[in-house]
Symmetry: D2
Subunit: 280 residues, 4 copies
Amino acid sequence: MCRWLAYRGGALHPSLLVLDPAHSLVRQSLNSPLGAETVNGDGFGLGWYPIGGDAVGTPALFHSIEPAWHDENLREISRAIHSRLFFAHVRAAAGPPIQQTNCHPFRHGHWLFMHNGRIGGWRHVRRELMLRVDPEFFPLIRGTTDSEVLFHLALTFGLAQDPVAAMRRAVEFIEETGRAHGVAEPFQGTIAVSDGERIWAFRHSSLGTSRTLYVSADLTALREQYPDAERLHAFDPTARVIVSEPLNDLPGAFVEMPESTVGILGPDGYRDEPFLRAAA
Amino acid sequence: MCRWLAYRGGALHPSLLVLDPAHSLVRQSLNSPLGAETVNGDGFGLGWYPIGGDAVGTPALFHSIEPAWHDENLREISRAIHSRLFFAHVRAAAGPPIQQTNCHPFRHGHWLFMHNGRIGGWRHVRRELMLRVDPEFFPLIRGTTDSEVLFHLALTFGLAQDPVAAMRRAVEFIEETGRAHGVAEPFQGTIAVSDGERIWAFRHSSLGTSRTLYVSADLTALREQYPDAERLHAFDPTARVIVSEPLNDLPGAFVEMPESTVGILGPDGYRDEPFLRAAA
Amino acid sequence: MCRWLAYRGGALHPSLLVLDPAHSLVRQSLNSPLGAETVNGDGFGLGWYPIGGDAVGTPALFHSIEPAWHDENLREISRAIHSRLFFAHVRAAAGPPIQQTNCHPFRHGHWLFMHNGRIGGWRHVRRELMLRVDPEFFPLIRGTTDSEVLFHLALTFGLAQDPVAAMRRAVEFIEETGRAHGVAEPFQGTIAVSDGERIWAFRHSSLGTSRTLYVSADLTALREQYPDAERLHAFDPTARVIVSEPLNDLPGAFVEMPESTVGILGPDGYRDEPFLRAAA
Amino acid sequence: MCRWLAYRGGALHPSLLVLDPAHSLVRQSLNSPLGAETVNGDGFGLGWYPIGGDAVGTPALFHSIEPAWHDENLREISRAIHSRLFFAHVRAAAGPPIQQTNCHPFRHGHWLFMHNGRIGGWRHVRRELMLRVDPEFFPLIRGTTDSEVLFHLALTFGLAQDPVAAMRRAVEFIEETGRAHGVAEPFQGTIAVSDGERIWAFRHSSLGTSRTLYVSADLTALREQYPDAERLHAFDPTARVIVSEPLNDLPGAFVEMPESTVGILGPDGYRDEPFLRAAA
């Protein structure tokens, strides 16, 4: 439904990934060859951890209902700010209204969250899923997307304590609820979550047909492989990006993440592990 | 929090009431002397029953998050369309986001609804009130205002069968819920509802300090009183408007509706009756 | 750059052409197979002559910078209004900002105008073209598109007296100015103009590679050819539409207009004649 | 017509001046006691010189057509960024459309410009003023305000070489042109200009009735005068702000700038000098 990008590494201007690459996220907003939809023009969002002050503070958000491709504020802001960890998202709305409160990423305290995909049979399961949200978190739901309810279910299930376990329980609960309502594919999607220090990226769908998700290769190895690729020198060696589609055509630069996997990107580099198994 | 206007009578351009009068609703958006806030710049809405075709059809909606005062689309549309019954609303947001799904009027089938005021302690009672909404209506809630939940509670309590009884039960339920949460003033507001044939206008608050509400005087009598008031000849004799503030300074042209009253405007003219008593 | 549609015939809801057909203008906004761009998501506009009152009055405009495909106001308004002559336009911006004043159609008195294409070398010829606009019309230019300047040049050259001659002089002046600046293709586009009674539709480009333009076939003949096509019965026999791309796949339903031609649609039906020859 | 604020000093979050003070610019957008209009809800803008990299780089812009008072992006961005020199502006439109290209500040290279006031008889002098703009700068005019033309006149008259002389010539040219058209008050306004190093703030009107303009007092002196004012400790000693209205009620904290004066704020502190005399 959407396209997203999550970056972690040395401080840089988000424009370096969001605007400049051959298949930058902004270009994917107008034309995303691997997307369920090729146009993602129903708003966008940028969430970033500002540099300076406290170790990990509250991330800042910029949301807009305009298409990303001609948005001048996005160009200005993504070129002016610096960040060591940011999320960017372009939306293709399946149904819920086009409004800023439905734009990703979503935020809770120092947590960021974004999603590409959908909760199947949303109209039928929405009430039941919302009721399961902890009453403490319920009033914080500001929009009407399935994604934001998913985030608040994960918070309910302990996202702040154990992101992987909480997300697993949230997705399992959604799958159980959907199946109880006879929904063929209760969950579909790729998800990114961050606490400002690490990024957890999930790829899963109930039928094993998840949206694509890629992680960039280790930069040191990539530079050895492509000594002439000047663009690679704009990044520090720890820079990694997880993204719905490769940002360029360099063979080996982006590696597909397997189905039902969670990738974890932190101070100790990147690794992935099984997340959930699709129902056979 | 807001200002609104409901018209019933011979077909006319809404601009005649929304744009042209000395204290038109659009002027009230920038400066409403009797309002809780004097600026109502957080979006607006127009809902009208188009002329032609079936007796009473689905009303049309135009919603915008721009301030009404400079909005060119509002000027164009309210001058181009004709209607025998329409609602107009300018918003001063107390908290919920500025987005089209939070703009009044709201619609359900051939019903229109709008509200000025608030549900007290919204953050604390929101979940409980939403749970009381009939599961059939729950997925139809598209925004995040207290007003839209009030509308869906009224639908749950039988608005389509008996608007006055259903609105009474909805307000009573809100007041009970608020009091159980220790909210001092659980309900405050003026409400307009229509089925395309009649308008029901409610004025009530838990503490007896409701927002102002006025109904225009009988036009035949008014014309006799002001034979030189040319503007009055733009309207047919059955034209009546219910509005948050008088649209002009003509003494006697607008009569204040008493506290805890419902005014009913239909083919048989206007009458009002007690709605609910404020808690002593 | 854009896609547009102009209708003349019995009164109908614009939605019948703008929303409902297999390749409606709104669907073309997301995917227009014959367009120079396949996405036309940079705003849209609707201009219509309201029914009632004076013979031919001022047309009404509705402009928005949102993509047309999910716009709820467009759905509401195009289903609620009736008109015997209307223009609709979806924009793919080549450069000038996304703002309502850059949305087509443009209006002057009871004239409507819209354009798909571009003035070549705009940055270099803009000042010279604007200076040629009659000082009476100059202050009426509200946006920053080449299209709006083209319209005001046509007004300067007597559009209100002789639309074909005025448009010819405007295009010739643009071509001369462009060539003087060394612009390879000074003009490219399809244009629709109306006075509320007739529609003039122009197709021309300096290099003979104009954007596509189609006119719907005579409805009486079409019904005989397709006796089972129920949709055709929604229109009265005089209904004709001129459009950038066919609205359906019915063979013969839409006929391509030749290069450098002006089509004229009025009370006496449709005819076309040569407009300008492309430079060899 | 508008309200604005220009800051120079140690790096800080613009929110400290734009959002937080008792009479912050955002509060002035809803209620500006000293303004020609008390509501400035027709969009806003923020222009800032980002920290890092080159000594003085290109300033970044954030423009929006929403009222500032509830805008979430403005809150997010003004709290997330740091800057040593920034402009902020809230608009009350006198006529030209509400669109991002009409939002201040305007930018040219590393120059920022903003304006509160108006060119008298704009409709009559617009063409003549635009023709005087250097053809090199003409295509860079993106909106339709008198303010942007004033900026490009100043650029034409050598703003980059001598800001005071260029602004003087621009205002004189506007006054001459207006008088030739019989305009009673050809110019009215306060203006801020910056090259990233210094701020020049102008206050002038043809009739000597300029909009208000204030400069904050020297912070070291102010702290001695108010040892208990904790808020003053959030700023470094070189911090100065020039603003349409005082940001707080502290006597002596803001000093009115005299009529027809230019204030210059740079590494060597603040000083002012005569700019132009009003016509007697």
